[in-house]
Point group: D2
Chain length 368, copies 4
């Protein structure tokens, strides 16, 4: 049963214009969940959307990362998506997208590529069930939306981030079949990059980070990166390629991971890799940004490129397991900044945009 009759949410009314609005807390449909948001993180996507540079989304409820507490179970919901019993009061992490099960992609079993993945997210709050994003006191989990009970040993902010960076790189690195004993070069030391270091390390791989920001390099060292190629020292593609070669018996890395999010990183990738390498492309997700690219660099080296936009939704369960096993070994909590009240969401967005903070988080419950 819902604990309060109405809830509040952060609505993007226009470019960099957020309003807090109030809506009735809905009753869950059969198979759905109504939850209270315990913690929600501000991620790069919110900045893009807030700044109006995300081409596909506007006029919507903000927020996609969250740790939630179940407040109302729809008819028929007795377990999470791993078969674990679920009850009111349980802490859960939902995927931020869905696999509809009925589009052409889902119809091939390629749930990661569901054509309707974001159909519930990009909605105006006047539409039922109102709480489409995680920047609010409540969040509605749809019948086909995967969610998992959160292991107790995962800190709040880390659990809230599980459905994004960690699970994305875990999925991606399994897609390119990163194996024990291989070397992976990671382009970019933001949240995705740091999580990639943790995953690669657990898989028994050697890690090389290409990055130029001191703070990110230091954090990567806390995450146990094996080598850093510092942009400030190696300031050309050639210099970085030579340095990576030097670290890999003259050959280049087995795996590349693009999480810098700029097209130039994609163009640089092949130079850092060995013949027959695999390249995971995650960072470049906003169309319209091009670079000069030489496809023969891929062909002559037989480099396979695997881009991943989302993940098969059951990977969130694997992501939470991963965090639970390794939470003592990696400083995941350092990736999350202190929390703001929901009413201060614009401040939080501004601080992230100014790069004063990496990943501010919201704690809607503060305001109760």
């Amino acid at each position: 049963m819902p604990t309060n009759a109405t809830g509040r949410l952060a609505y993007l009314a226009g470019e960099r214009e957020v309003e807090i609005r109030e809506y009735p807390v809905p009753d869950p449909e059969p198979g759905a969940l109504v939850t209270e948001v315990v913690r929600a993180n501000v991620c790069g996507s919110e900045l893009h959307i807030w700044n109006g540079t995300h081409p596909l989304l506007d006029r919507m409820v903000l927020g996609h990362e969250a740790l939630c507490r179940v407040s109302d179970l729809g008819e028929g919901v007795t377990t999470d998506y791993d078969g674990e019993p679920i009850a009111e009061g349980d802490l859960v992490a939902p995927t931020y997208f869905v696999a509809c099960g009925k589009c052409a992609a889902c119809g091939r079993g390629e749930f990661r590529s569901c054509e309707n993945a974001l159909s519930h997210w990009v909605k105006h709050p006047d539409e039922f069930p109102h709480f489409h994003g995680t920047f609010g006191t409540h969040y509605y989990v749809h019948p086909e939306q995967y969610f998992y009970k959160v292991p107790e040993n995962i800190p709040e902010g880390v659990a809230a981030a599980a459905n994004c960076a960690l699970t994305q790189v875990l999925f991606g690195l399994e897609e390119v079949d990163l194996s024990y004993g291989e070397t992976v070069v990671i382009q970019g030391g933001g949240g995705l990059g740091q999580n990639a270091i943790a995953v690669a390390n657990e898989f028994g791989a050697e890690t090389i980070l290409v990055e130029g920001v001191e703070e990110r390099i230091e954090r990567a060292r806390d995450f146990g990166v094996d080598h850093v190629v510092d942009f400030r020292e190696y300031d050309t593609v050639e210099a970085r390629a030579d340095r990576v070669a030097e670290l890999t018996d003259g050959r280049g890395a087995d795996i590349g991971v693009e999480v810098a999010g700029v097209p130039e990183a994609f163009a640089e990738g092949p130079h850092l890799l060995r013949n027959g390498a695999r390249y995971l492309e995650i960072g470049n997700i906003t169309p319209g940004h091009t670079t000069e690219f030489d496809p023969a660099l891929l062909t002559r080296k037989n480099i396979q490129v695997t881009p991943t936009m989302h993940y098969d939704p059951w990977y969130l369960g694997k992501g939470l397991d991963f965090l639970s096993r390794t939470v003592e070994r990696y400083p995941y909590a350092e990736l999350i900044d202190a929390g703001f009240d929901l009413v201060d969401v614009s401040t939080a967005l501004q601080k992230a945009d100014d790069r004063e903070m990496t990943r501010p988080s919201l704690v809607p419950g503060h305001e109760h």
Copy 2:
């Protein structure tokens, strides 16, 4: 035993400057073969090399496609690489590259990516065993170089081409796991593209060719292509993308094959494909040619790119089997033009360069 004491070969002395030279026919080392060239085709690579635009190769014996007759068996050679007994007089097709077995790539079992693949090809004829290329009366097959007996029902020129276009696309389409019932869009109707139509058709796939040259389109129809998107009618990327969408339930093709050999085709690829498609890159092999490319087009559609430069050498055996099974069903012989004497190799190259002919061939035995 060699049938004559000396042989002749086509040596590239400088840009567009070919000399016919004479060398002693070598004795084969243990594991090697000496062969007489029955037929050798002029392929696009030879034109690049002849014109001096191939960055990696010069001053060498020309030619990489050939049908050969075994004239001298090295010690220990009793079978081809499929275990079939081999004897003097047998017709064989060799791979044009080797898998050395001892480089880092071979050491991972990735024979397709051997770092020494072309080590025997790019050699001056003064060096033993002289007959490094197929444009000559003889051709030397090294101990680690795969070769296969040629089924009797394959015409000479077609057999000579087996180690190049057909086997390359057969390998590539298996690498991207082209499956029964899928739709493949092929960019470019040259030799690779026509062979891709045959392979895709045999695998039970539907084929769409993107091409603008009338003669190639007609040939594709002879090869049984299902649909043609004619550049002359659909003259923008958008128009071609719309047309492919129209042919594929509005979604784009399952598989793309780039055999046009220009960077712009690579940049166009993602527009022709569905969410979650696979893209086979074969045509762009000469580094130094760039295009404006937007990597987010790959990411947002989860399009996996698989480039292939060579193939695992045992695929030549599969390629010959494929030709033997299907030689009645596809006009492979149309892809090969009439033969020239070895002394006329420059004429043959000129005619190919002028596009008067597609794939002239040499018949060194004419001159006996």
Copy 3:
């Protein structure tokens, strides 16, 4: 809206004791379908259940194969599982099992292994929604149960069988990656075996059937089998193994398919296969039947065994596509016998049990 207030169904009250019972036609839940059964086939499983030899099932509504006409769409149902618009009156084929999405198997994305696959089937008709099996005037399709519109060119009985034999072998042969040019030996020429011949043939494989019943051998020839190893002629394991070797260059087949359904076939399998072969096990599904087995036969030949009980549910869509493409080329309809009224279900079962008929079918609409 339901066209009649009540419907009838075949209830297994005890061993070989079927009663026709009447129940109210239910209203569909959100996401569900109510359908009228156009045609339902009697399959081997029904005989096992009827005879009481199926260990897991009893006291239930019979029937799992069907062609259905949509009579009532649950809230929110607008398309089938391939995104095709769906309306009352459409002909659909449903899977006979579900993937619950929430068990441990589904939670790994292994929908084919759902632990609750048969949860809706094995139910007493007193329980809502009553019409749990396809032997009735109506059939209820649950919200998580895949269903597909049936292409118009597929005959009724063939469409009714699509969710069983054809889709099962299509899935299985893709699981063992049957490829163009390979040879497959099929143990058993019942419905599964005949469908396996069609699929293997379409994939470009060569087929060998091991069978001893004249009628089945003749049917296999109609299905275009390449070779038959007749049990009556080759009456020992060794003789059959020798014959298969003879047909495969002395090596054994690349792929084996066990659809005989007896443990002895499983024990014979390795003898028919080459080193490094793959073996698809489908037929042995009833536990408690053992055979003397030598596991070293698998090890010494590196034979991989892939058993499949069900299939990923989206394969039913692929199965219907397959039938639609190939319906002119294979005599699928021969596999289905003439139809009975629902009241004559015991007669139909008896005739199948007596092997007077292969696959009798029910046409519940006859009785209207």
Copy 4:
């Protein structure tokens, strides 16, 4: 250059009848190596052969595991199979089998299944190059036989064993795609089992050993096994299955590894595994030993069986890398017993047969 004109080897003249014979040390053919044996281990296979229970081998030079010192390089040998420079005096580990490259299996790229894998091993010493087995002062490495330089930090006996148990289970566990976070149940705590614990642990998997011999259980604990199911306590299949279920959330393990080497273990396997599990069969390699087996146990659980007899030869390089990385973390040396002179080979075999020792080793150099 050979350091002595003749060498000695252990020849199996008859059942349990070993003679030390003397032969000239051969000159290496092009591509071959002559080596001095530094250390050779007595493995289970030698006991089988010695006792006459190995059906395929007799009258031969004994021994397949060895650490060797290069004494004579054949023409053209400049590197090992990983491209590392090689010189006289280097310590190397060779595979004990070959991939001929020319049989039907090699012709499909399935080097693990080479039909001529043991062609050099099972030979009478009168035949050139005499030193066909590792129980001798010298060992001949053929041109197509993979060998790798041995990292310095690997102890002698461990290096000698690298080409057998460790590399076999490393290959096998990659074949069944053992992944981070999975649970593997290992049947049998001999050398293969202990090595499997190490590999599984490094891959981030949880390990369960099923074993009943105290000493093996203790060793497994030294190797860091997570759980032991003790045959003495759980003395029925059902009890062991229940215990494994209890350790795995009631479901059974993700992966099973059969290294007990008895058919009963194979029959027990499915009971220990979850729905959709993978089963690696390594131990049962001697044909002629059967068990009562119920194939429906595989089918109903969709359990895939992957048997491996040998490995792709480049895995030996990966195996040596693995040992070098992990030699400080696992007590590999405990698996190898103290060394014997070559003349005492019968004593060593007897002690292994009497189970007084696990893996005695020979140190042929002692006798110089």
